[in-house]
Subunit: 244 residues, 2 copies
Amino acid sequence: MRKSRPRQSAAVPHTMTAVQAPAPAPLTLSLPEQIAAQISARITSGAYAPGQRIMEQAIAAEFAVSRGPVREALRLIEKDGLVTILARRGAQVTNLTIPEVKEIFDIRAALNGLRDRGIAEDPERHRLLPLLEAEVAGLARLARDSKRGDDYVEAVFRLNRLLTAGSRSVRLRTILGALAQQTLRYSRLGLSTEQRRRQSVRHWQELMKAIRDGDGERAQRVAERRVLDSRDAAIKKLREFAES
Amino acid sequence: MRKSRPRQSAAVPHTMTAVQAPAPAPLTLSLPEQIAAQISARITSGAYAPGQRIMEQAIAAEFAVSRGPVREALRLIEKDGLVTILARRGAQVTNLTIPEVKEIFDIRAALNGLRDRGIAEDPERHRLLPLLEAEVAGLARLARDSKRGDDYVEAVFRLNRLLTAGSRSVRLRTILGALAQQTLRYSRLGLSTEQRRRQSVRHWQELMKAIRDGDGERAQRVAERRVLDSRDAAIKKLREFAES
DNA sequence: GTCAATCAGATTGTTGACAATATGACACAA
DNA sequence: TTGTGTCATATTGTCAACAATCTGATTGAC
């Protein structure tokens, strides 16, 4: 502390009137963000196995930076739930138990419901609609034609990201973004049969209709149902794996 | 990187069978955590005003540590949403707009519903029930007697914390813990009239009944309704302030 | 007087070294 | 063989200095 500084902002009142600028969003990723993106990709792609330790030193050497930015990158990834950081033991790739996977899907169901309801009730939703319609149409095609489900899962992921990005709420975007990353691997499991993909398409089409009609409550119900069905399918598969 | 290390964990399978230990929870708070607790308290108590900048140097000097732990403490507080960190401009106390406050209450409604439903359906809930009953009884008393609403708000906060802590889901606990901190100030606004406190007590009593009966769906509905009413009351007050 | 360019000071970002702590191997006793 | 204590090593935690960037004020031109 120096001499009494003027404290530029002590005069800001405790009321909520000021509408603050909606985050500058720099076009250039900071060093920690770049590192975090790389490591995240390795985790979701499976290059780093669940439970594997991630050492600051090693990453720092690989990217030719000091441990500071790497530390911060790991904290960033922790926010997405992709790694777990233990005091004095560093970071390791998160390993989810079945009950935890269930929890995440439950939260996703509730918040996806909130998100899609918000979109259905958004007067500006017509700007988003064409994109969504196109994606859902593609989805229907993929469900019919595609042999492997990977393309379908990819499309569902894009569609979800589109909806999340379209939400007015920063917090929903943040939380859902993190949860989506965590469940990516398991959503894949839940869409591995053709029957499930058919059901999924029907849900998406229903949801689109609700959004078109501006029926928020219906959109919410459908969205919740969709995620819960995905949850049950994923859990079923997981249990099968666990037993074998 | 040294010679090829044995990679102790590369053999961990990608399945979900292993039930990992439920977080060691060290009894001693780390340095960053201690600092974060102090600053958080200053923010929720109002000692730091919304919009006020928090400088690493100053905090470091005050706690007689280097900037490293302070940096991490601020990142920790950011996770709770109490400060906003801008690239190359540091941390400042979060200043919420009215739509943002609404968003937070909406998310809280959905997740509190999930939480209370989980508790109502928890076979082990009888261990929690006596604590809850006592707190709700105290609530009813406070709603009748207390002149100022502060004690009442305090009790509601405790009750909420009790329920959140009782949830089986780590993620619900984390997210709801953060959101509760952010809305503390505004919940107070929403419970400033005696009429509202009466309504609040009725909701809590209904919720308790649903939990006792093990009626998850009902608990969920009541919990959502409670938070949404709180939301509307808080927003109403905020708008009044904004206009004056 | 208004606006833009410039510049000094303040503040965050990054670095490399050192300190504190955890991990796993080994020796030794029961 | 099993368990326990010790110790070297690996790894995270903290520090202080330096680099990069932002902020606000001052200067000068129009």
